[in-house]
């Protein structure tokens, strides 16, 4: 099989070198630019996507690891956790420049899939790999906590 599934859509990727990080498969090969490049080392979280419902850093994940798997990006409009988080992101007016927010949302969705009732410390631990240079952290924490509380 030479395909990956991004946001429930199948993409043939046989012509793309298997060691290409999936971040660049999305962005440059497939022109899916919602997922962002921030550092290229997995240090900032801007490129976070879910691979079979697990949050990963797409700049550190070669295409070969994603073959045949389901990838959820910030462009996914159907993911349950992402949509709950989006409601909170609107409510608490979280985003500023917005560049990191896709990674923040997907990372938080990955957390909620693994642990639907994280406490505040667990939220901070899970989100500490996602940098926001605008400093929206207090709002992020409030927004994620509000989803946990339901």
């Amino acid at each position: 099989m030479n395909a990956i599934f991004i946001d429930n859509k199948k993409y043939e990727v046989k012509d793309i070198p298997q060691d290409t990080p999936v971040l660049w498969v999305f962005r440059d090969h497939l022109n899916l630019t919602g997922t962002k490049f921030g550092c290229g080392l997995g240090m900032c979280g801007a490129c976070t996507v879910m691979l079979d419902n697990q949050a990963i850093r797409s700049c550190q994940t070669p295409l070969s690891d994603a073959i045949g798997k389901n990838i959820t990006t910030i462009e996914n409009k159907e993911d349950k956790e992402l949509n709950s988080l989006r409601v909170a992101w609107r409510e608490y007016d979280v985003a500023q420049c917005g560049y990191c927010q896709g990674g923040q949302l997907v990372n938080a969705a990955g957390l909620l899939k693994a642990n639907s009732k994280p406490n505040e410390q667990e939220i901070k631990d899970a989100m500490q790999g996602n940098i926001c240079r605008c400093g929206t952290y207090n709002k992020i924490l409030t927004a994620v906590s509000s989803v946990v509380k339901g």
Partner: protein, 714 residues
Amino acid sequence: MTLNRREFIKNSALVSASFVIGFNLPTKGMAAKVEKKKEVIEPNAFIKIEPDNKITFYLGQVEMGQGAYTGIAMCIADELDAKWEEIIFEPAPVKDVFNIPGMPMMLTGGSMSIKTQQQRVRQVGATLRYMLKTAAAKKWQVRTYDVTTKDSFVINKRTKEKLSYGSLIGDIQDMKIPQDVKLKEKNEFNLMGKRVKRHPIEVEEKITGTAKFGIDVRLDDMKYACLVQPRVFGAKIKSFDDSKAKNMPGVLKIKQLPNQKIAVIADYWYQAKKASEAIKVVWDNGDFEKISNDDLIKIHEDYLNKEDLPVMKKDGDVSKAFDEAFKTVEAQYYFPYLAHAPMEPLNCTVHHKGNKAFMSVGGQFQTLYRATCAKLLGLKPEDVEYYNNYLGSSFGRRANPSADFVIDAVYVASNESWPVQTLWTREDDIKMGYFRPMTVDKAKMSVNKDGKITAFKATVVNQSLVKGTPFEGFMFKDGIDATQREGLESHPYNIPSHDLKSFCPDLPISTLWLRSVGHTTSAPVVENIVDQAAIASGIDPIDFRIKNMNNPRYIKLLENVAKQSNWYNREKNSGYGVAIAESFGSIVAYVIKIKVENNDYKVQNVWAAVDCGTAINPLGIENQIEGCVNFTMGYIKSAQITFKNGAVQQNNFYDYEVNRITDAPDNIKVEIINSGEKMGGIGEVGVPPMFAAIINALYDATGKRYTNFPIKLG
């Protein structure tokens, strides 16, 4: 705020160009004319109304997180009574009509977006609403008094009939544009002064990954470039070997640029990056290779100890005051070079099409960047089509008068058939400069027996931000960079004697303004030396400040944060620090509470009071203050640029440690005081007093003055 009618009339040729759209407006004469050739014309205006009632605002101020789009749009929409949720934003093209009033260019910086634009955009909105009302009244044959407006419709008060704005554009196209249209009174505002969330369309784009930043530009047949950049400042390319790189997959072209960089153009950026790593360069690193951080500190400190430096302010008799002082305090301060590290790595996309060009970027200097592109390609500015995208934050990095990342991209795309997106790596961003300069200060202050400050002496040494740039002419005078004066010369205290000096050493390290500019260092110096003077005098730091100032705006803010934080009954076993600073026309006071534990410290509470004159969007202000607090925390605790052998030692976010969610204060509370004074800015103003409050809080907690940034305990 009074309406400057004279200016409006004077500018009517420009401003009238923005009243109505879907058709073009004349630049001369007072009547609008239909642009027959195209259905939707190239905008020459602030507002476009289309027949289907779609309303578009063209915004010359760029959006980089600071909320300029929302704030300015609130002003227009309120006066126009346009349906808020449905307004569409478009970045304005480069045209003089969008210049900052009184300046020869479009720019976004100095926290000036809303304060400089609000008056004229309100006028445009109000005038257009008046015209729409007049047209509807005429149709219904009623007095304009009998019609009202709401959510992009004119409503007949008697019959409740409605006409959409879009249905009236044919009726206003030949209408004489009225002058002196009255703006809304405060009690008529629907948006201004209210807590308004970021515009819903922008939010939706930013939470679904559809917001387009410069890095997201995709054009037909577009190629990507990665650069090999020098690591030692001032280094030159002696030779390079690209024999391996040029045969790597996807590589289309490798070329040396005129600015000592090498570009690899490839089908995809990752291929270009891989190939760039395979290029072997022999550098001529020059003399700067011998320089390391200690040398740089020494260069700065040597000047710091000289007396014959350029004088910023000298009055009274400082020596006499020091001789007669009840108490004197003095301290030295060190601030490192800092990289802005905006979240979106630097990039710019250029397509050189012979005698025309297209560029698409996220930048704070539209006019300058377009002119730079035109100049390098030998074109006229108007032959370069410029598009401005969202900025994935900036903090000043995309407001570079030297236009570095734009120049790279223009050189790369010059004489190529493809459009090329040039994208820096994060390592290039951290290592290649345009830094907040290293700054070394010393300060001394004296107090008399009555607890009054008698003298203030300070020296600041840092590289100029503007020397060698287009800003030098009006920002560098008599050996002093205007940014060195910020906050130092203009402190709020009543002091009879000053001796303020500064010096700008020349070094090959490139420098640039970082969010709040000179205030990043002046606020901690002033607000810490004042704190030390208070404590030496045995007076409470807030009382001491109030005792030594007259301005009621400052006093009100200090009283506010004292009350919010329960200052006079502070909790034991915590450290409290206060600071206040004015920047960009607004004043911010903080009391912060910190906890020191295991040789580390954590900010638990921030109580803020803000006076920006009049708050257009209190929620936006809260968001900016919270953001400023967190942004500054990273620079307080960990981030710094240091040098070894002429090159930056840090590489990426693993050794250039910016703030993370775990560093965020537990609680940030913001109160806004509407003094009604002249409107100030907001985007940067939360930064300066945060740098200061931390030193004072750490002293309260530990009894030690930590004046070297970043502050590590132990």
